[in-house]
Symmetry: C2
């Protein structure tokens, strides 16, 4: 069986690593990895390939820049060529980026079945580009790997019932696999001169927060007034936004470059609390039992809010902040939400049993 | 209010004409017409603008050629620029072509509400590029004009309930408006040297029929054996396919260029029967009470089959043909299925009452 895997953005490298390992180890499966180039900075891309032992991409499309339309268009054109050349049995896409959308559109139009890992997520906010990418990809997919019952339910409500498999969350596999290793290898505490439980970890990169200067400034203002230092690895988009204009004092904020995955796991698990608008980091906070504040009005990961480990906070309203942060309690109960840590294995078996010709 | 209308293919010019007239007559509405260039032959495009008095496009994108991916990509890039320049309150798209998909994707990503005319149609066959375009567009639209109860039901089954309006079918407006005129103006019978009820009218252009040489040859073979002459206006895609290879005798087939709309209405209404894989022509056959055979395994217009005016015939199976055609009876009953002929008026009123700023 031949699989074309489409990757492009940081969270996709992390989602792909555990499954790609299984696919590459199987001699009957030929996995072709395509990197769209959506993320191309060394510390947003290369470092993950090395650290997570992802095989080097067979194709590098270099379609990383431009508006949503331009980026997606460039990816589609190149992906169509790759699919026509490779003639895979399935195209495998992850998550909700423009690379996911371009991969699923190109494949579906060429009649190649699309398999979507992390299917069924919904924020119900169509102003998020990610929500558009998800919804479209799910409706173009024939094989849908849903991380949770909620995801399965969302799909069912949109009439998608065939080809849906509830497999747990593949990011949980990676957390379990890399956590111990992270603690052994990472020297991030020394490098940053910080101590466990004595800092907040923050990330911000959703368009809704970075593209409105006011919101981003509000977020920084609130970080400045928290009772502990805020370590803030800057996503390239956020960095660009801050370079455009950035007033006020930020003596309480430690701006750093994006972290590699092992350093990130250590930082997440030892933070007093995480403040983020990232989808993946909300989940990892839960998996690592670190309380989380999500800097958005809604989330795709409602379960974590219901379990009280995650709290939504509208960044438009910084007055609420210090109060909210001070009031957050570490819940005493914990329900496993993201499967058994063998999601990659389940997906691998399902893919392996699909009725395709071996090529 | 400012509206960007995205058109590109023949059926979209016909769908747009009745509504555009109302929009253009309203001084408070500024309709900008964008022609993607998907259809660019004179007799697939210009003739409809002239005959149906569609205003000349404000933008001509010239994105007509290339594979699905390339075509859609080129359209997206240009449409994004147009939307950024014009800053419309809504983007209006029609039907299910690549122009529809590109328009809705570009608009949704720029947070401009998409209004979809002919929403909710489904063939449930994802191998049809049109099915992909429809499903994606409906999930990206905030205002959905569904031609029938079945379309409303399809949308509901996919969780789309907000912003859905059942308005009837806008092509029915055009049929009613142009039918009399057609009989007065058209000299198509003289030009073709044929007589009413003494010919079959055929059109074929779906990828599933044109891209498989065998299927197309089967269709021609069956046409050759029918008991009356088959008048066959050739879609450019079908013409190209036939130029690539075309064996056998076709003395019973009258291949002609695509017809203008008025000639087409006359030909449809006076045919003994219509044989087609076109969506629009299946409906027009019903509206004009001409029995129809649909050269596909499934149809989006199930109602017409249920009412027995339309019969599905798998072109893979030419042996069945002459029997099937001979057995078709003109039904004695007729139920109006496509609204009251004032769909454009209804859509106009709904659009006009949307809560947008006048610009
Ligand atoms: O500096 C960082 C920030 C995030 N991540 C990892 O990247 C993934 C989340 O990606 P991101 O927040 O960019 O995207 P999202 O999850 O919101 O789609 C998670 O596994 C994080 O642990 C990382 O390794 N270094
Ligand atoms: O030679 C022709 C063939 C079709 N049509 C009209 O074009 C529309 C249907 O378009 P088409 O079959 O190309 O596309 P579909 O409806 O299948 O999307 C209908 O209004 C037809 O009357 C036309 O005017 N001349």
């Amino acid at each position: 069986m031949k699989i074309v895997t489409v990757l492009g953005a940081r969270p996709q490298f992390i989602k792909a690593c555990m499954l790609s390992r299984l696919l590459q180890d199987d001699d009957t499966i030929n996995e072709i990895i395509v990197h769209t180039g959506q993320h191309y900075d060394k510390n947003m891309s290369d470092v993950f390939f090395t650290q997570l032992q992802l095989p080097a991409p067979d194709y590098n499309l270099g379609a990383g820049s431009g508006s949503h339309g331009k980026q997606t268009a460039a990816m589609m054109i190149h992906l169509e060529e790759v699919i026509n050349t490779e003639k895979p049995d399935i195209v495998l896409v992850y998550g909700d980026t423009n690379s996911t959308l371009a991969g699923s559109l190109a494949a579906a139009k060429l009649h190649v079945p699309v398999a979507h890992v992390e299917a069924g997520l919904r924020s119900f906010n169509k102003r998020m580009p990610e929500e558009i990418n998800r919804v479209v990809t799910d409706h173009l997919s024939s094989i849908l790997f849903a991380p949770s019952q909620a995801a399965v339910d969302h799909l069912a409500r949109e009439g998608i019932r065939d080809g849906v498999y509830q497999t747990g969350d593949i990011m949980y596999d990676a957390v379990l696999h890399y956590k111990e290793k992270a603690f052994h290898q990472s020297d991030i505490f020394e490098r940053l001169q910080i101590e466990a439980k004595d800092y907040y970890l923050a990330t911000v990169h959703r368009a809704e927060n970075t593209d409105e200067p006011n919101r981003l400034q509000n977020i920084l203002k609130a970080f400045q007034h928290l009772d502990k230092k805020v370590v803030f690895p800057l996503h390239p988009r956020t960095k660009r936004a801050l370079e455009k204009g950035n007033e006020g004092t930020h003596s309480n904020i430690l701006f750093i470059e994006p972290l590699n995955y092992l350093d990130m796991l250590v930082m997440e698990s030892q933070a007093k609390m995480i403040l983020t608008d990232s989808g993946g980091i909300q989940k990892e906070a839960y998996m690592l039992r670190t309380p989380c504040i999500t800097l958005r009005k809604e989330t795709e990961w409602e379960e974590t809010v219901r379990e009280k480990w995650n709290t939504l906070l509208d960044p438009a309203d910084p007055a609420e902040w210090s109060k909210a942060v001070a009031n957050i309690k570490v819940p005493s109960s914990y329900t496993p939400l993201f499967g058994d840590g063998n999601t990659a294995g389940q997906i691998y078996r399902i893919v392996n049993n699909l009725p395709f010709t071996t090529s």
